[in-house]
Symmetry: C2
Subunit: 496 residues, 2 copies
């Protein structure tokens, strides 16, 4: 089941000791951030700074060579300039190191000379049985082992990458780092991350296989400039998407983009028709822009995959209903009629002038959102619900400037709404999503936007994988990807 490379990558992600070659006390250098990040984020193993320029790094005695370290070293993280890297790899070989991360750039992506240097490094590593990440990358994150080689990026921008179940494989360090950063901001949680760089040794396909078998990873997202081993990708991807969703952003799709990709990681983007066919054949969800990546990943991981394309829309107001209906149709989704049973049930809760059709326009009703979503979700004409309604009433923290009496009345009402949401709304909805096996996708929570703080109900939903997307269009787009993934999975059942 698990191939040799899976075990090797697992060792790389779970070292007992790490040496940082090029560790530094200068905050402008990568060796500063990387070493301190490992030192201060709770890595339980041994950590060794290696440098010739300073005696101590962050008050820890430095070694001038890995070979001088008296204990065994599992993982070496290399941040010295490119022309020193072959010598460091030689040292790793002599020391008996089995895993390395080469952060350093200036290899194949800069031309012939760099390419030679890169091949030299690969030769040394192959001979010694060393597997390595990079070069020209940000390295790895393993949240469960408190390991991050993200360096400067991480301590300044992401205090701590929250542990969870989204795994990221990125052929771009900055795009990958962006996903971690923006994801953490949105409250998403990650299992493992790898910025794969030039992929001189370990490839995208290798990491994909590793993440397939990684029990901590429930959904895999990838940023792809080019794949080196198309056949292997097809094989591994087909196996993976049966067990967990794979969401990929393929870039370098245009002439300008492909040229830029070549100068970035030296990758040849290859034929776009190959990639389109490969993703389609293997059930990989191929999204069209970076904003989609995490949006789709979290829904695919935590929501039921819809069995069809018929969407019930539940909206606080007509405008969002129109936007949502437009967006659904543009994305190839259907906005069907609801059954009389549903219409009658909704009429009991909503004011007489509600829309009496799909989209369900609740005409400003704030306290029936959960009930309405539940009813529409149950409707046999509906495979999924897209909601743009108030899922969580703001607590009234924004009311500080108001007179006491007003504030007290308004906040009391807000508390009442919150209780209603938390007591029946949220738990009931989560239970129904499971029972009916249909997803609920939220684009904007109500028109009560601009809220200063996140309502509690929204937080609970998010923690259960029901994320609120910023616009109805984004929600519809996410749903369309889920629908396609569902079609693929049903196709598999059909061929069994």
């Amino acid at each position: 089941m698990e191939s040799a490379v899976v075990k090797q990558i697992d060792a790389l992600f779970n070292p007992k000791s790490i040496a940082v070659v090029g560790a530094s006390n200068n905050p402008a250098k990568w060796g500063f951030g990387i070493f301190n990040d490992l030192l201060n984020k709770g890595f339980a193993g041994k950590l060794y700074p290696v440098t010739r320029s300073e005696e101590k790094i962050s008050n820890i005695a430095a070694y001038s060579n890995i070979k001088d370290i008296p204990e065994p070293v599992d993982l070496v993280c290399i941040v010295v300039p490119a022309h020193y890297v072959p010598a460091v790899m030689e040292d790793c070989a002599e020391k008996g190191v089995k895993s390395a991360i080469i952060i350093t750039a200036g290899f194949r992506e800069v031309g012939e000379e760099g390419k030679k240097l890169e091949e030299e490094v690969l030769g040394i590593a192959r001979e010694a049985g060393i597997r390595f990440v990079g070069p020209n990358c940000f390295g790895i994150v393993n949240t469960s082992a408190n390991i991050s080689s993200m360096g400067l990026l991480s301590p300044y921008a992401i205090p701590r990458i929250p542990g969870g179940s989204i795994g990221i494989i990125s052929q771009s360090g900055n795009a990958g780092g962006y996903l971690l950063g923006i994801g953490a901001q949105q409250g998403l949680k990650f299992s493992k991350f790898v910025s794969s760089g030039n992929e001189t040794d370990l490839h995208f396909e290798d990491y994909l296989e590793y993440f397939l078998w990684d029990p901590e990873t429930k959904v895999i997202v990838g940023y792809v400039e080019g794949l080196k081993d198309g056949r292997r990708f097809l094989e591994v991807a087909r196996e993976t998407t049966k067990r967990k969703p794979v969401v990929v952003l393929k870039v370098g799709r245009t002439k300008s983009g492909s040229k830029a990709a070549h100068s970035h990681t030296g990758s040849l983007a290859g034929s776009e028709s190959f990639y389109a066919a490969a993703f389609k054949q293997t059930g990989v969800i191929c999204v069209s822009e970076i904003a989609d990546v995490l949006d789709v990943a979290v829904a695919a991981a935590y929501q039921p995959i819809p069995r069809g394309n018929r969407v019930g829309i539940v909206t606080i107001g007509g405008g969002f209903g129109v936007i949502a209906a437009d967006a659904c149709e543009k994305q190839g989704l259907e906005v069907p009629s609801l059954t009389d049973e549903t219409i009658n049930r909704l009429s009991k809760w909503l004011p007489p002038h509600w829309s009496h059709s799909n989209p369900v326009d609740m005409v400003g009703t704030l306290d029936k959102t959960y009930a309405c979503i539940g009813s529409v979700l149950k409707d046999e004409n509906v495979d999924a619900v897209l909601t743009i309604a108030s899922l969580g009433f703001p607590s009234g923290a924004a009311l500080e400037g108001y007179p006491k009496e007003f504030r007290e009345m308004a906040q009391a009402y807000a508390r009442q709404m919150e209780e209603l949401e938390l007591s029946e709304g949220v738990t009931g909805l989560l239970e129904r999503i499971k029972r009916y096996g249909k997803p609920v996708i939220a684009g904007v929570s109500g028109s009560l936007l601009g809220v200063v703080e996140e309502p509690k109900a929204v937080k609970v939903l998010r923690e259960n994988g029901l994320v609120i997307y910023p616009t109805p269009e984004r929600g519809a787009k996410v749903l369309s990807y889920l629908v396609k993934y569902g079609e693929y999975l049903r196709g598999l059942e059909g061929t069994r």
Copy 2:
């Protein structure tokens, strides 16, 4: 120059006294939020609660009828149920009121009976010379007069709508409220807002003409379900776009969306080809989704309109460069070669392995962003710059958990970066944008995303209209709209 309707709307937006019919002490009712919003947001004029149910509203003596108010009333805001509205309008006529806002829903959009009611109200108003907003709307905001009839939405969700120069005309209350809320969150500032509802009396075209002549409004954004007077729109829009940009989201473009729009405001969406032609002929920037509306508005208002479609890309890392190049090409923008002069200048500042081509991949360089953008902007092959680089270094507030020594070193470095940005970077860039007459559009500031606080440099840029969009794709999309607007304006010059 200014027609009668412009003066009438100006009176509506600048009343000296306002009565709220249906004011309430019950926080669940619109009459609560609306009255208290007016009361507590600094409106300098007289404010009268009108209700039969209570003696005082928020401790202010209430009148049971507008006619009982001893002083003149300039504007009446109506929030009583639909069937009471004709009687209230009669009272307004008798009182000599000239402006009204009918928040109440349940008119034409609910069917024949509501339509009759609506016509009755219109008849009374016409006879008395009363101009009114709505019904079925959220009313107006005039930030310079501290007037907001947004009710519940506003105090809970938007502490105070910040005064500035974006004007909004929305045929949807919730979509319009969303734009105000999300805009305030993003630090954008607004002149005036109107949720036009069913447009029984005043139409989109009327507000457009008013905003055309409003000196406080520099850019007009619109949410449109359907226009009632196509010919008048063409006339007013053509005049407006010469003086200020108009950005419109037209919805109800699909079958499902058009059906939803009809049940929302009773509007008939009309022929899509008419709208496409109308917007093109008049230079109205017609965007494709709600997220574009403010993105484009702020750029169109504050940045030079590009004279061509050639984009220089300046990126912190290769991945974002590839994404940006793909996005530009997809949006019909060109990614041209840079002149040798520019390449040589950039080579002085960047590490040897920088990309030496467009996109300019600064390979992680943090302190040369402003210099590089300036050089690329100057390049004669370039009409605009799209940047995905570090415009503002995080202050290090996220480092609180780190040991003192590390934190001090890292924060000292952050301060150094900040000084550099603020002393030369920002002011120099803003000056160059003016000098060259070319826009700079930012999609993500560096890969240093996930930052806890907004860097000072980014704040200064934002206050000068250089907003940072969340992704390179969003930035490229904004740029493509500006390019099309520029083509339209140059076409006008050609025909003079």
